[in-house]
């Protein structure tokens, strides 16, 4: 059945593995994936732990519907205390790794300690082995997977691994699987590197029994039809997330030349149609009908002849607007390189954009810049800096420390120009005209981020009646420039996304970029048919709330305060210079932002410092944590 997957505790210092069952009580409270990760982190990491020390716990968790025919049940969560923020580290990954982990008999792997020499884990039908990986150290993130498949003699082995960036503990190194999938954010690759853990290879043939196979097939056929009948699914299947660029840039919602503009002119070669020259078709993650990932072979340039997948909207910004370049080939080359090195594309672009603005303002020491030509749009410098960050050379070594560490090295006068929250860089989106999205990045439990609570459909001018149907509250404003009612939308999305991450299904097939996608109602039915667990939609949304609140408790325990739920100063001081009249000249109003934050806390049942009250903890069954049930 879907509930019999186990948890393995690996101690790399001692070289031991212990396998345990997961109590059903925890499944009911946290499901799996990000939910169980929150529980395991809160229970297994002591406050004040060094994120790159042996005591940090790295947790890999498949979602509870991962590996089942639930729509896009592809995903897993990788979590630890973040070396980037010093707070919650948590990144979600698609591809095929999560499902294979479940077929191998496990839902969760908790890794502590530090191996003396490089190792990898071989997880296969109920067993976990620690094996030497000296021969893999130094391999890029794709080579590593190929070599492990050869070594293990099975082309169907799935691998999560680090590239050289993780080995060098770049604070925003990611964990990679497949050609481009990544647990991208918060530096989980650096944590793997710090443990001398190069890879986790999984392969399994253990069935996941469904509670109601016939019922599941019947309903899922309906649900797939519903998903695929939307215009949005058609667009995603053709362009992937690249389509978002055309919409946001023409409106003026894109961070350009670090944060100096909100729109990029002459951007034709960044728009999704520019991908026509390179794409050879679309690929999908496990069990997904939407197939949003381009496959390409680079026809020219530095990596001529190399096969790659992607890029995402994220890279259009990271290696396009943020660094002032408009070249799809440039985006693809940079995408290729970050994927091989195992770097978070978003953090890389953001750090380089920041360095370019610092250089422009004369705030970078000449000896650090050396012969780098950091003028806007210079893709040669971008490519070289990606290499330098991964290998920790010169300026790259400084940038590899992430926003907080790099500001410390370069001086307090550079802080104003870095667009980060809690020490993590923001997407290349510009939220100055959109208070709901601004509140989202300020309050996300892992730092500036669009994937934890973004009410993206706030941009669609949906009629209030439709908003009421989705968000379950009357009187929500359809004006994306407004402040009223926005905290509720953020809280609602926060719960939904936490739920989606705990289930191991894909956000793209939930209410994220389209209002006509599944939400708790549909998931409740899928969960019943697949696992036999009965939940009401309200109970599922409460699980989302519980997960977010436990993540909040983790951050508070590490010393986070209300001051960390803030925006970069520039959001308040610099109005947007470009864009449509509706978004031009906009900045965030400090008083109204603070009022939104109060309201956001109130909805949660947190005090004005953002601490959950005793009553809230009791309501969510969190008053006894840490309970150490597993």
């Amino acid at each position: 059945m879907a509930l019999n997957r186990r948890i393995a505790y690996v101690d790399l210092s001692a070289g031991t593995v212990e396998v345990r069952d997961v109590p059903l009580e925890l499944r009911r409270k946290y499901l799996g994936g990000r939910g169980m990760d929150a529980y395991l982190l809160y229970n297994h990491i002591e406050p004040g732990t060094d994120p790159l020390g042996p005591d940090n716990a790295l947790v890999l968790s498949a979602g509870l519907l991962s590996g089942t025919p639930a729509p896009a049940g592809a995903r897993c969560q990788i979590s630890a205390k973040s070396p980037l923020t010093g707070l919650l580290g948590s990144a979600n990954m698609g591809g095929f790794f999560g499902p294979e982990l479940r077929y191998a008999g496990f839902d969760h792997i908790v890794i502590q300690g530090r191996a003396e020499k490089p190792v990898y884990l071989w997880v296969h039908n109920g067993s976990v082995e620690i094996r030497a990986a000296d021969h893999l150290w130094g391999s890029d993130a794709v080579q590593t997977q190929t070599r492990l498949r050869e070594e293990l003699g099975d082309p169907d082995v799935k691998v999560a691994c680090i590239g050289v960036a993780g080995e060098n503990r770049v604070r925003f190194a990611c964990v990679r699987t497949g050609i481009k999938n990544a647990a991208g954010r918060t530096g989980m690759g650096a944590v793997m590197g710090s443990k001398n853990l190069k890879a986790v290879a999984v392969r399994g043939t253990l069935p996941i029994r469904l509670a109601d196979p016939e019922g599941a097939l019947g309903y899922l056929e309906e649900l797939v039809d519903y998903i695929q009948s939307s215009k949005y699914a058609e667009i995603m299947g053709k362009w992937g997330t690249l389509f978002i660029f055309d919409v946001t840039n023409s409106t003026g919602l894109i961070r350009t030349r670090n944060f100096q503009s909100n729109q990029m002119p002459h951007s034709e070669d960044l728009e999704c149609e520019a991908m026509d020259r390179y794409t050879m078709g679309m690929a999908a993650c496990f069990g997904c009908t939407m197939h949003c990932r381009h496959k390409y072979v680079l026809p020219e340039g530095r990596f001529r002849g190399q096969y790659g997948e992607g890029p995402e909207y994220t890279s259009q910004g990271a290696f396009g607007t943020e660094v002032g370049a408009a070249s799809m080939l440039g985006v693809l080359e940079a995408n290729q390189l970050v994927n091989l090195h195992g770097l978070d594309t978003l953090e890389v672009g953001s750090m380089i954009g920041w360095a370019m603005e610092l250089h422009e303002k004369g705030l970078l020491p000449a000896e650090l810049v050396g012969d780098l030509d950091l003028r806007w749009g210079n893709l040669d410098a971008v490519i070289r800096l990606i290499d330098d960050i991964a290998h920790r050379r010169g300026l790259g070594d400084v940038l590899a420390e992430g926003p907080k560490g790099a500001i410390e090295r370069l001086g307090p006068e550079t802080a104003y120009y870095n667009i980060h929250v809690k020490g993590m860089s923001n997407l290349h989106s510009d939220e100055r005209p959109t208070p709901s999205l601004a509140l989202n990045i300020a309050t996300s439990t892992r730092g500036a981020d669009h994937l934890r609570s973004r009410p993206a459909i706030d941009l669609y001018h949906l009629p209030p009646k439709v908003l009421e149907r989705i968000y379950g509250k009357p009187g929500l404003s359809d004006d994306y420039r407004g402040y009223e009612g926005k905290p509720w939308m953020v809280v609602w999305q926060e719960r939904l996304y936490a739920l989606v991450n705990a289930l191991g299904v894909c956000k793209f097939q939930s209410v994220f970029l389209s209002p006509n996608m599944p939400k708790a109602e549909e998931y409740a039915r899928v969960l019943r048919l697949v696992t036999g667990l009965e939940f009401t939609p309200e109970e599922l949304m409460e699980i989302g709330e519980r997960i977010t609140t436990l993540e909040r408790l983790f951050n508070l325990r590490e010393g986070a305060t209300r001051a960390d739920d803030d925006l970069p100063e520039r959001y308040f001081t610099e109005p947007t210079p470009e864009g449509l009249p509706a978004v031009r000249g906009k900045s965030i109003d400090r008083d109204r932002f603070d009022a939104m934050l109060d309201e956001y806390y109130d909805i949660h049942g947190w005090d004005r410092e953002g601490r959950p009250t005793d009553a809230t903890l009791a309501r969510l069954g969190l008053d006894a944590e840490p309970t150490r049930l597993v």
Binding site: I179, T205, I208, P213
Partner: protein, 155 residues
Amino acid sequence: MKILAVDEKRCTGCRLCELVCSVRHEGAADPARARIRIVKWEEEGVYLPMACRQCEDAPCAAVCPVNAVGRDPELGRVTTDHDLCIGCRACVSACPFGVLGFHEDRGKTFRCDLCHGDPTCVKFCETQALRYEEGDRVVDGRRRAAAARFRQAVA
């Protein structure tokens, strides 16, 4: 006669076919025992669905020592009578496509049975890389596409 037609160029590699096949036949999400499998060259982005091709002159039938493998003329499929099957796996070895499986728990072989004329994998294949259609029509589209390229080349 309808066959399970594969257009591998449309395959996105999602493996939903494996999943729904195994749910239909095994009551479980169990790709290892799916009757259809996607073979991948991941580093090149090439994916190929493989299932029993329901051979007319089937090697699996020829090698079966107890004549358990036969042909269902109505659906044009190769069948195994599991009451006769002795689980010797000769058919599994003989299959030139490697698309017969062996269920170790049951001691029996398994293969694509076309879901008795309504293949579940086809219903879930959004890109129509898998289709269930008349065998003599399968290459019509491909011929036309090739002709169109030829026409363009000589124009």
